[in-house]
């Protein structure tokens, strides 16, 4: 019996898989970036289907907005000639082999250890907020520190040296 | 007030040096005087606390005192929820009390002696206090995890202290750079601590209590720690900690380390750090693994005898002051190991007293050698001559240290060595007599190299090179006189010290079947 959410799931997952496939195969890097965006949006859809509304929003905002944009900026700051006609490196056949093997193992593992499933509940954003800011307040603050440090680190790394080198 | 002191004084011993570290970090490094005086203040406060701890330690009450507990981490497992498996358990028995006093004394005098360091004094003291915080931690920890933690904490700063402030030396046939010595010291000691860590984890698992607390594990020795397990665990521990006590053939880090280290660090290194090894054997090896200890001790006593003689003869072949004293330290630590290995009341008491006595004595030695080196810029006894004329007080101080080292009665070394000798003769039957004789001969060899050194470097006519040497100044004399006073006090009136040691030795030996 194919339910409506299963159909939605397949649509979203085809977005994810298709986007992901394009990311790792296309030759033009800008296209790859947009394919990544597609995959991220698909993931947001998956989140929605798993009752994680807030996460879906976050996913769109951070990945769809920030991450892809940052990557595009990075592309703009680097050399443009290489963008089209990307080639893969010499161990491509091995890579194919290894990833297929890993995929097989994982799929086998999934099938072999079939999990019982039960229907989940919707989580209200209020609960999530309460949990985040009460139970997990300290890790949350620490995470913000991590971000801050990453920010500073990024700035320091890309800053022009004083001699202008 | 007294309760507060009883509960938190041991914690203070660990925390105050760390406070000192932070404090010194905040002082800009160009204020040399501020750094000097604040480091002096910190170390006097800590030493004062250690003094208070020692004197308010009541040896008439059984059991560990000044207990303090802070639960840190639970480890659930086969043993249950393991609440507070790792907790900062502090407490001292008589042995640890004496070691705390020793650390306090060496720390204070080492600080005074280190004042003369010219370069990056601030960073030196930061690392110095870090090191001492670790040393105090080892002596007062009743938790194996923290024992190990502080053990590592006290080893690692040595690397920087020697590597940065040390001195490289060039000898006719070989050279020792300070970087080499620092690296060797750190690597060898860390290799040893791997063994310790394995042993500690093994004890933790085997005891099946879900705790690292030594006292709690001690109660289940007979049920959970089987004889076979103990026999396997003791060598790990004995080699691991023994490396720090200069166990042959892993002793070479020690003389090289001494030669390269600045005098303040040498004082701590030989005075306190090497004692951690012997202390570890007593605290974990004998207390938690009595049967294993009993099984392996005959080997240790033979090794100890080898170290005594080997170290003494090696010292005889050296001409560099610090090498002589370095090997002499190895030799004297051999006495400690022998004393421990007797498993005898007298021997163990003597070993602990020797740890204290040797600590104070080598501290004095290195302080004096530092005074000489600062003025002459050489430590080669073949070059130095007739220093007694120019540096009379320094000579007398060196003489006192030397006489202590060769076991002259009236100075601390004699009492300790006497007790150890008596212990060795009382244990292991005829073998004990042979080994004991070796030990006594070792003391005679010490006399040869010490007096040879004195005759070469201090006596004889003053060569023109040393015409304008100055004698030690008031600061250095003050530091040295504290050490001399301690040496004399133990040498002449060891009664109170022995009373305190007895408090710790009794329970340890009572766990060992057949020990006297």
């Amino acid at each position: 019996m194919i339910s409506i959410d299963l159909i939605l799931f397949f649509i979203a997952s085809s977005l994810v898989v298709g986007g992901g496939f394009l990311v790792v195969t296309v030759k033009n890097i800008v296209y790859a970036a947009f394919a990544l965006l597609v995959a991220m949006l698909g993931t947001a859809g998956i989140f929605l289907l798993a009752f994680a509304d807030f996460l879906a929003l976050v996913q769109i905002l951070i990945y769809g907005g920030a991450v892809v944009v940052v990557i595009l900026f990075a592309l703009m700051l680097t050399r443009l000639e290489d963008f089209k006609g990307l080639t893969d490196n010499s161990q491509k056949p091995l890579a194919v082999l290894v990833s297929l093997t890993v995929l097989t193992i994982m799929l086998y593992a999934i099938v072999a250890t079939a999990m019982p499933t039960s229907q989940g509940d919707a989580i209200s954003m209020i609960d999530l907020g309460v949990s985040l800011f009460q139970d997990w307040a300290i890790p949350f603050e620490v995470a913000s520190l991590v971000l801050l440090v990453a920010l500073i680190g990024a700035v320091v790394l890309v800053r022009q040296d004083e001699e202008g080198r | 007030m007294i309760e507060l002191f009883n509960e938190s004084s041991l914690l203070a011993l660990i925390i105050f040096p760390l406070i000192g570290v932070v404090l010194l970090m905040l002082i800009p490094s160009q204020y040399q005087d501020v750094i000097k005086y604040s480091s002096l203040t910190i170390s006097s406060v800590v030493s004062l606390i250690s003094l208070l701890v020692y004197f308010s330690f009541d040896h008439s009450i059984q059991g560990y005192q000044f207990l303090y507990t802070y639960s840190w981490l639970d480890i659930p497992g086969a043993w249950g929820d393991g609440a507070g498996a790792i907790s900062l358990d502090l407490g001292i028995d008589g042995i640890a009390a004496l070691m705390v006093l020793l650390t306090g004394i060496v720390m204070f005098t080492g600080t005074i002696v280190s004042w003369s360091i010219k370069e990056d004094l601030k960073d030196f003291f930061i690392l110095y206090f870090l090191l001492l915080s670790g040393v105090f931690g080892v002596f007062v920890s009743l938790d194996m995890f923290f024992f190990f933690f502080f053990y590592e904490l006290s080893v690692l700063p040595m690397y920087l202290l020697i590597g940065k402030w040390g001195s490289s030396s060039k000898f006719p046939t070989f050279a020792r750079t300070k970087e080499y010595s620092a690296m060797k010291l750190t690597l060898v000691l860390v290799a040893g601590s791997v063994l310790i860590w394995v042993a500690i984890i093994a004890i933790f698992i085997q005891s099946n209590l879900g705790t690292f607390n030594i006292l709690e594990i001690e109660e289940v020795i007979s049920e959970n720690l089987s004889t076979n397990f103990q026999k396997i665990a003791v060598p790990l521990l004995m080699i691991g900690v023994g490396i720090l006590a200069g166990l042959w053939p892993f002793h070479t880090w020690s003389p090289d380390g001494h030669v390269s280290a600045p005098s303040g660090v040498s004082m701590v290194h030989a005075g306190v750090l090497m004692k951690l090894g012997a202390f570890g054997i007593i605290r974990i090896g004998m207390f938690l693994l009595p049967e294993g200890a009993q099984f392996w001790m005959p080997l240790l006593i033979v090794l100890g005898a080898v170290i005594v003689i080997y170290g003494a003869i090696s010292a005889m072949g050296q001409t560099d002051f610090k090498y002589v004293i370095g090997y002499s330290s190895v030799s004297h630590m051999g006495y400690v190991l022998m004393g421990i290995a007797t498993l005898h009341y007298l021997g163990l008491t003597g070993a602990v007293l020797q740890m204290f006595s040797h600590g104070v004595m080598t501290a004095l030695f290195f302080a004096v050698v530092g005074m000489i080196y600062e003025r002459t810029h050489t430590r080669d006894s073949l070059v130095l001559q007739g220093l007694a004329k120019k540096m009379t007080v320094t000579t007398i101080l060196f003489g006192i240290a030397g006489l202590t080292s060769l076991g002259l009665p009236g100075l601390s070394g004699f009492v300790a060595e006497l007790l150890i000798f008596m212990g060795i003769f009382q244990s292991y039957g005829f073998g004990g007599i042979i080994l004991g004789s070796f030990a006594v001969v070792g003391a005679a060899i010490t006399a040869i190299y010490i007096l040879r050194l004195i005759a070469k470097a201090f006596f004889g006519p003053v060569s023109s090179e040393w015409e304008d040497l100055t004698d030690s100044n008031l600061r250095e004399r003050f530091a040295a006189s504290i050490l001399v006073f301690t040496i004399l006090l133990i040498g002449l009136w060891p009664y109170p010290f022995v009373e305190v040691i007895k408090h710790g030795v009794g329970p340890i030996l009572s766990g060992i079947v057949g020990a006297i």
Partner: protein
């Protein structure tokens, strides 16, 4: 304990000297005479205490006085410190305090103007304290304690003029050589402790006499203790330090290396005598060591030309005689000779010091001669000392020697003729020394210009010479008082007796030695080279002191220190560079080879990572 019990007051004896040491060592520049007065005062007070104790004893008093306290308390094992004054120690205290007192007064004149005048007296006080402690202690441990401190005092005083390389070396040699003996002593003490559970001398002897200690243990521990005594009392073959010890100031030689410290070995053996008696064969060993020392040292003394060395070898020789006496059950005779030798030899050394004082510190007898006129008091007192030591009747040395001969004849008759030869030798070399120094005419500028020493130095000489003359009378029982003679004082079982023919032989031998000496060196009737020609080899051997120094220094440099150097190289090259560093180096080497596996490409690394994970999964699977 009540501090003011008379028993506890005996602690004052050593303590007062310790305080003197501390005061002088720390504050010598603030005290008039740099502290000499403190030192002399303290030893004077000690002497007064001795007089007090003696009077008390004569009036039927307190002996033995005993006081002790626990030094280390280890439950089952108690180590205590205790002092004991009995008859033996009363004699020793008298000797020590009296000689030390005189020597210190003498030193004020002798050491005048020395840059370390105060330090000299400080060490003297330290030595006196240690020596008093040594003879007062009631247990072996405290005795060892003092024994070593005495050695320290000796070390510091021999090396007093440390700027001289030879003095520094001599001090070291003295300490190390005696230390070799002390190793034995300490081991012996501890073995006895193991066997009897106590350090207390009388308890040990009691246990041993009850049969509580096996014969083996008694034998070995006695032998080891005797080794200690050999070191301190400079018996062959551990005698080599004593002649070198003459590098110290001469009053030091008089006090430490003639009268007191070197007698400590005799004292120790005498103290432990009841134990030694029980050990099979120990007394024979002691006798042999004693007689060898007696003869060999006497022979060397005959050929030495350094005034202090002659006296040093003479001291060794007489210590050998005392050992021989002890080995022949003659403990009282040994003590008697110890006292009388102490007075006489101190007198001779102080006389030698006086000569050196007048001769600008020249010690070579070849440079002297004819000093009799220039230094009349020194000359006469020196002569008295010489005759006393030569055993010429009726000076004191004669009586003590006589008693020793009697006990040797009674217990060790085979040694008797050899001993007589030794007696002959000792009167010969003493007279030779006197003749060379004081008779005939001056042989150098120094002796031309020699002058008599100041009174502070000559008065002690006079006092000592009086004693050297009259102290022999102590051997006789007193007709008026209860005094039964010295021997009976030491040991109740001993009765004073003389064997007429032995006395006669002794007189003849001593006189013939003295006469021969006078003929050769005084009257110059016989050319010395004429006699020594046929015995050239022996003469060479003797004048090179039987090659002991050469052999020892060969052993020390060629064997011991070479071995030490080899061990140092072994330690560095094999243990450290090959063993410890070897581990590091092999790690480094294998890293050098393995580094070529690193392509440097990130994607290679990640591929290998994944494969690794993959393998781990497989392994896990297999195990499951």
């Amino acid at each position: 304990m009540d501090l003011f019990l008379v028993n506890n007051l005996i602690w004052m004896l050593p303590l007062i000297c310790v305080f003197a040491f501390l005061i002088i060592a720390l504050f010598s520049q603030y005290i008039p005479t740099q502290g000499a007065i403190v030192s002399i005062g303290s030893i004077g007070i000690a002497f007064l205490i001795f007089i007090f104790v003696l009077i008390d004893f004569v009036n039927g008093g307190l002996l033995p006085i005993h006081s002790s306290f626990t030094w280390i308390d280890l439950g089952e094992w108690q180590i205590s410190w205790g002092l004991l004054i009995d008859r033996i120690s009363i004699v020793m205290i008298g000797l020590i305090t009296f000689v030390a007192f005189l020597v210190q007064i003498y030193s004020v004149g002798y050491m005048k103007g020395d840059s370390r005048f105060g330090w000299y007296f400080a060490v003297h006080s330290l030595f006196a304290a240690a020596m008093l402690l040594l003879v007062l202690s009631d247990n072996l441990l405290l005795l060892y304690f003092a024994w070593e401190l005495v050695g320290l005092g000796s070390y510091l005083l021999i090396g007093f003029w440390y700027e001289k390389k030879s003095a520094a070396e001599a001090a070291k040699k003295a300490f190390v050589t005696t230390r070799i003996g002390d190793v034995g002593l300490l081991i012996g003490i501890i073995i006895l402790f193991k066997a009897s559970g106590t350090f207390d001398i009388s308890s040990i002897i009691h246990v041993a006499q009850e049969g509580g200690i096996s014969n083996d243990v008694i034998f070995w521990s006695s032998l080891l203790i005797f080794l200690g005594a050999m070191g301190k009392s400079a018996q062959f073959p551990l005698h080599v330090w004593l002649p070198d010890a003459m590098e110290g100031p001469t009053p030091v030689s008089a006090l430490i290396h003639a009268a007191t410290m070197v007698a400590a070995g005799i004292y120790l053996v005498g103290r432990m005598f009841p134990l030694f008696e029980l050990g099979p064969g120990i007394l024979t060993i002691i006798s042999i060591v004693g007689i060898v020392t007696f003869i060999l040292a006497g022979a060397i003394a005959l050929v030495m030309t350094d005034i202090k060395r002659v006296l040093a070898y003479s001291t060794i020789s007489h210590l050998g005689l005392m050992m021989l006496s002890l080995g022949s059950f003659g403990a009282p005779a040994a003590f008697f000779h110890l006292v009388i030798h102490g007075f006489s030899k101190a007198l001779l050394f102080l006389g030698a010091g006086s000569v050196m004082h007048g001769m600008h510190d020249q010690t070579e007898v070849e440079l002297m001669g004819g000093l009799r006129k220039k230094m009349p008091i020194t000359s006469i007192t020196f002569l008295i000392g010489t005759l006393s030591l030569a055993g010429i009747v009726p000076l004191s040395g004669f009586f003590s020697k006589d008693e020793i001969l009697i006990s040797i004849w009674e217990y060790n008759p085979w040694f008797f003729p050899v001993t007589l030869f030794g007696v002959f030798l000792s009167s010969l070399y003493m007279i030779r020394l006197y003749c060379l120094i004081f008779l005939s005419s001056a042989r150098s500028d120094y002796s031309e210009k020699a002058h008599e020493s100041p009174r502070i130095m000559t008065y002690p000489l006079i006092i000592l010479s009086v004693l050297a003359v009259f102290s022999g009378l102590l051997a006789f029982p007193s007709p008026i008082t209860e005094w039964q003679g010295f021997a009976a004082f030491i040991d109740d079982h001993h009765k004073f007796h003389m064997v007429p023919w032995i006395t006669a032989v002794s007189i003849v031998v001593a006189f013939s030695g003295a006469f021969l000496g006078w003929v050769i060196y005084g009257a110059r009737k016989i050319e010395i080279t004429a006699i020594s020609k046929p015995f050239k080899f022996i003469y060479q051997l003797v004048s090179r002191k039987f090659l002991f120094d050469e052999i020892y220094s060969w052993i020390a440099t060629k064997i011991v220190f070479t071995f030490a150097r080899w061990l140092t190289v072994f330690d560095r090259v094999i243990v450290n560079d090959t063993g410890i560093d070897g581990v590091g180096n092999s790690t480094k080497k294998s890293a050098d080879r393995l580094k070529y596996f690193q392509s440097g490409y990130l994607y290679n690394y990640s591929l290998v990572m994944v494969i690794g994970l993959f393998l781990m999964a497989i392994i896990w699977w297999v195990i499951e």
